[in-house]
């Protein structure tokens, strides 16, 4: 009986109710459920016929490297040099710190450590180029790069990255890009004129652009060899693979994914967490999550994700515990919406 645990039982709220000893109306539970399933199915079918559902094709690395070869090359060079967003991210990908968040004494990201190691130099550049075995000049260039001291590799990489960064900065500001970077519209090749020697890097990166434009890089990133942060092999010659972390993070480091997302009103500043492509409702139930990102201090905080998740964690706990929250659990008595819900009951009571 409902009384048994009412006032003093486990998880009691101190608000007991009496067993109902009034009238009963006939009720067919199974029939009600069957009708409800039919009605919901009908509504879903009508919405499907009228509105369908979105299915915007995914962005591919081949598409990115063809339509934005300089951005692709600039991003790939950052991966080579260990200066990309992924390379500097921190756990769970590596031991960097650019994206490591904390809140007071809470450092859960650091505590959980590196669970998905990504060695950007090896995984995004060296390993894919090792698959192009029919190009001896390329393999010699990769050998030279790998054999060089770290300082030399850094100097080559920076020399090659500098003109690309200047080009990207000018393009971002809608200025005339420097002539040190040029693209061949017919072949999609990118020529980079460096002010100092870049060693084997131009050969390597030109081959990576070709591999990407041919559509071969997606498969290589998905199933090719990968290495741990210390360079030891992590995964070798896979056939089946369902982990898209490498290609997705690579795409996210470039600009094409974000540019497309902006046109589809999906950016964080556009409340994008609760949107999806087109004019579909998306995950509207995430409105409260995304709302916190729009207001200070989360809006400008480097720890916004952790702050928002903590806020939502606390709110979720309070939501579950509403029956025990002193003021919140009394509001339904003060704002008598229940009189509307049970108006028939109260009316019959008054008339009797």
């Amino acid at each position: 009986m409902s009384r048994s645990r009412g006032a003093v039982g486990w998880l009691g709220t101190g608000e007991d109710t009496q067993p109902w000893r009034g009238a009963y109306a006939p009720y067919d539970l199974i029939k009600e459920l069957t009708i409800a399933v039919g009605v919901i199915t009908l509504i879903a079918v009508i919405l499907t016929i009228l509105l369908s559902s979105p299915d915007e094709k995914p962005v591919t690395i081949a598409q990115w490297s063809k339509q934005g070869p300089v951005n692709f090359l600039a991003t790939a060079t950052q991966e080579l040099n260990g200066t990309s967003a992924t390379a500097e991210y921190g756990p769970p990908y590596n031991h960097s710190s650019a994206n490591v968040q904390h809140f007071w004494l809470l450092h859960p990201q650091r505590w959980l450590g590196v669970s998905h190691p990504i060695n950007t130099t090896y995984n995004y550049v060296v390993s894919p180029l090792r698959t192009v075995i029919a190009n001896p000049a390329l393999q010699a260039a990769v050998n030279e790069y790998e054999a060089a001291p770290a300082a030399q590799r850094k100097a080559w990489g920076e020399a090659y990255a500098k003109p690309l960064e200047e080009y990207e900065a000018a393009a971002g500001e809608h200025k005339t890009p420097p002539s040190s970077v040029s693209t061949d519209a017919a072949t999609g090749a990118v020529t980079v004129h460096t002010s100092s020697s870049a060693g084997p890097v131009p050969t390597m990166m030109a081959a990576l652009v070709s591999l990407a434009q041919s559509g071969g890089l997606e498969g290589t990133l998905l199933t090719g060899d990968t290495a741990n942060l210390d360079g030891t092999p992590l995964r070798s010659k896979q056939f089946y693979e369902t982990d898209y972390t490498l290609p997705l993070l690579f795409l996210a480091n470039g600009s094409m994914l974000e540019e497309k997302a902006e046109t589809e009103h999906l950016l964080g500043s556009q409340w994008g967490m609760m949107n999806e492509t087109g004019s579909y409702p998306g995950q509207a139930w995430l409105w409260l999550y995304t709302m916190w990102y729009q207001i200070e201090p989360m809006k400008s905080s480097p720890n916004a994700d952790l702050q928002v998740m903590l806020i939502m964690g606390v709110l979720s706990l309070l939501f579950v515990c509403i029956p025990f929250l002193p003021i919140i659990n009394r509001i339904p008595r003060w704002i008598p919406i229940y009189r509307l819900i049970w108006r028939e009951h109260y009316r019959s009571y008054v008339s009797s």
Binding site: R5, E15, G22, Y27, I40, P323, I341, S348
Partner: protein
């Protein structure tokens, strides 16, 4: 040659052994807590007379449509709906039933809040309902990142930061399609269905919360009214 069945009743274990039987103990507890007429009632208190009550059963109905359409998509594999119109049709059914599920569930939750439906030992009913909502959110998220289209690319690469910041990303990688698909079609739906089952059984056990202010009037009501329908359903224990 056949052996005629004995007319003697089968000799069962001693009563003492029966009392020790885990099965018998479970059955006794189950039947005591939820006798059949309370589990599947044929009557409900007359105060259960508002459209707001429809949203509870509509939530379960939406979940059934979600699982039905999702099962068809699962039978054909995750890529099927991208290249067939029939697959896209069932994907649309799946998506819209999810939207309906959240809509009716939110209305149901608000309705129960304004009824203060946790009264009378029903706190666990509220709490299980709230947890269902909270578990349904990642259930939907894993679906969005398993779509294998641009939405999946964008949502997964954005959601990873929140997951990683809390450390959840160490074992819940939203950019790992295989892992997310497993969560979406098995682990999280299993959790939602288990929670919904528990929630409904609690509702059946405790009955629909009576109207507010009834406590002061129940004595007067008891004097003038007896259960007039509903077979053997215990007073105050029916409804949804």
């Amino acid at each position: 040659m056949s052996v005629a069945p004995s007319s003697e009743p089968a000799i069962g274990p001693a009563d003492r052994d029966l009392d020790r039987s885990w099965t018998v103990r479970l059955r006794k507890r189950w039947v005591a807590a939820l006798p059949p007429e309370r589990l599947l009632p044929d009557g409900q208190p007359t105060y259960v007379a508002s459209w707001i009550y429809v949203f509870g059963v509509a939530s379960i109905a939406s979940l059934i449509v979600i699982i039905g359409s999702g099962s068809i998509l699962a039978l054909k594999g995750p890529a099927w709906w991208h290249y067939t119109s029939l697959g896209h049709f069932f994907n649309s059914i799946h998506m819209w039933s999810v939207e309906l599920f959240f809509f009716v569930m939110v209305v149901h939750l608000w309705g129960k809040y304004w009824m203060a439906a946790w009264r009378g030992g029903r706190a666990r009913i509220w709490m299980s309902g709230a947890i269902i909502f909270l578990v349904a959110v990642p259930c939907a998220l894993t679906g969005y990142v398993s779509q294998q289209n641009f939405d999946s690319q964008w949502i997964s690469t954005q959601a990873k930061d929140a997951m990683n910041a809390t450390g959840i990303g160490a074992f819940f990688n939203v950019t790992n399609f295989g892992q997310m698909y497993s969560y979406h079609i098995l682990l999280l739906p299993l959790a939602v269905v288990a929670l919904v089952t528990g929630h409904v059984l609690l509702v059946r056990r405790h009955g629909v919360v009576p109207p507010l202010e009834l406590q002061q009037r129940v004595g007067a009501l008891a004097a003038v009214a007896e259960p007039s329908a509903g077979g053997e359903a215990s007073p105050g224990e029916a409804g949804s």
